[in-house]
Amino acid sequence: MSALTKQASGAGLASLSVMAWRNLWRNYRRTGIMIMAISIGVWAMIFMSALMRGMVEDILQRGVQQLPGHVQLHHPDYPDDPSVVNSLPENVVQAGIAEAGEAVSRWYARIKVPAIIASERESRGLVLLGVDPLAEHADIFANAQLLEGEFLNDPEDQGIVIGERLSDRLETRLGKRVVVMSQNPQNDIVERGLRVSGIYQAEFRGQEERYAYMSKNTLQSLLEIDGQVSEVAIFGQDYRDLSELLSGLQSTFDSNTGMKPEAWNEVNPYLGGAVRLMDGFVLFFIVIIFLALSFGLANTLVMAVFERVREIGLMLALGMRPGMVLGQIMIESVYLLGLGLALGNLLAWLSVVSIADGVDISAVAEGLEMAGMGTVLYPLMLSKDVISANVIVIVMGAIVSFMPAWHAAHYDPIRALTKPT
């Protein structure tokens, strides 16, 4: 008996599906328009979130590169007072990182102190970076290029590399001497002349005035802090997953040295916040687009039901159970949603692929620079965004279409049949 019912309902479902499919194309214009609306909505959800993801990824990658490092190590007081007093002994750092082992893919130590740079006519405040030119070269020039001259050659190099804008402000140029001034750990002024050995251009022009590069050993001897550094940049395998690296470093450094390893999202909370903000924002965005879409969907289905009141009444009078009427209309809307989704996903995929090489947005470069973005936007389509867009559309679409379907299933057959058209 129960097997029979199942068979019957199975056959019923099959015929319901056929009827739903045919009903869909009775008014092909309306269906076509609805499919267009859904697909454009889905396209917008996926494509826009791909652009936003691309933007965040860009901000993150640049931010992490610029910090630099996935994890940074400082003297505990350095973030509040970035002076030479709060330095770290290089040999302790080296030993500690060796202990952290495989989790560290590469690292370097640098000096980072506020300083004054002066030419014959101007002086400016900036941050002086004492770097190991060989170790850091690739990271420094990921977002910058050397315009003139050459970068520092070795840790003993006696030159200074400044940004193009700074060189304009100082009215100096390649090969001329400038004077840098800072303070040693005794708070006495230290200063020396250096020749400008290179001029760089950064993607973010503001950096050009903020940072100047000197060789590590030269800066150490100027500041009288031999063997000391102010910042250690440590790179792991993947900046999204740092738990292993961080816990390794924390166990080595925290306990016996008081040095403080911090992940990139702690060193720069803006970057950490950007990711969380974007995750929430993408979901909101999808829901908002869907809300606009849902009115169109509900309207279409309500109209489809109202048009067919007498027809539904006849089917009910012929013995079709209300559940089947409900099912038929629901299947209809799921078909509609499915077609729209398929087309929308295809459109979104095509548009993402077509701009995979990046969109030039340099027209608004200055604003982007403030947000820490480059001038080329690369879309990033994440499967979780695609899945959430599709799931939201199907689930919420089904909920929206349930109302007219429920309504139709509960018509009184006599009234429905005699309803004047």
């Binding site: 004054i116 030419s119 101007e122 200063e191 020749r195």
Partner: protein
């Protein structure tokens, strides 16, 4: 904000130096054709250890305004100086103390002593054409430059030596070269600052030489910026006394705040 990074013999220090040097001139005028280092070295040697007390007026001139202030200064050798404003009344009491490379400033209005940090060394001293650095500098000029005697000419009864000083590669000096004109009695007549492209940027010029406190000194000197016409600061000495016995607390922070 314009920086002037100059050597020890410049700015207010140079004024003090000029004052002090002159008195000692009679004792060690060098040979007929002294070399440049020797001229500077004997100038500095003569000055070392000498104390002075002086009063002067500093006039700051700009295209649209001019202002004058009165100063009193105490110096001892090339390491210690104390300058205190006496007029106008609203600034009176503001003082600067220099102890070798360190520099403090006292502002009576807020009753605070500030140690001038590196970042402020380039800023103007009391709004004049002298920077804090001009005033505070006391490193050895002899060590940071190569000096050459360009020529010695006879002028107005004196021999005037022109010395070209080119800073060493790593000296904290922005200038391409400095040119000093020093009279045989060690009055510095002119000090020029040339940039690295060979353009004269500023000049400290002695406008008036006279005898004060028993020595011949540059009584009126003017620092002018050649790229900005009408921008100059002039210092005129009214009273100078040398070899004064200064109490040991003269160059202390407590004396900076509470003059005794």
């Amino acid at each position: 904000m314009c920086i002037e990074i100059v050597n020890k013999l410049s700015g207010i220090r140079m004024l003090f130096a000029a004052i002090a040097l002159l008195g000692a001139s009679g004792t060690s005028v060098a040979s007929e054709n002294p070399d440049a280092n020797q001229i500077l070295r004997s100038a500095i040697d003569n000055w070392r250890g000498i104390t002075s007390v002086s009063e002067m007026t500093m006039t700051i001139n700009r295209p649209t305004w001019q202002r004058a202030m009165s100063l009193k200064a105490w110096t001892q050798g090339d390491k210690f100086s104390l300058v205190r404003l006496t007029a106008p009344v609203k600034d009176a009491g503001a003082s600067t103390l220099i102890n070798d490379k360190q520099m403090w400033s006292y502002a009576p209005k807020i009753n605070r002593i500030i140690k001038i940090p590196a970042s402020m060394m380039g800023q103007s001293w009391m709004g004049s054409d002298f920077s804090n650095k001009d005033i505070g500098r006391s490193t050895e000029i002899l060590e940071q430059y190569n000096h050459t005697l360009l020529r010695s000419v006879q002028s107005e009864g004196h021999q005037v030596h022109t010395i070209v000083s080119i800073p060493h590669e790593d000296s904290p000096v922005v200038w391409g070269k400095e040119v000093l004109m020093i009279r045989d009695d060690y009055v510095i007549l002119e000090h020029q600052y040339w940039d690295q492209d060979g353009v004269l940027v500023k000049r400290l010029k002695t406008m008036e030489v006279s005898e004060m406190g028993g020595r011949i000194i540059a009584r009126r000197v003017r620092m002018s910026k050649l790229e900005e016409p009408e921008h100059w600061t002039e210092v005129l000495h009214h009273y100078v006394e040398f070899d004064v016995a200064l109490p040991p607390h003269t160059f202390t922070l407590s004396n900076l705040r509470n003059p005794r």
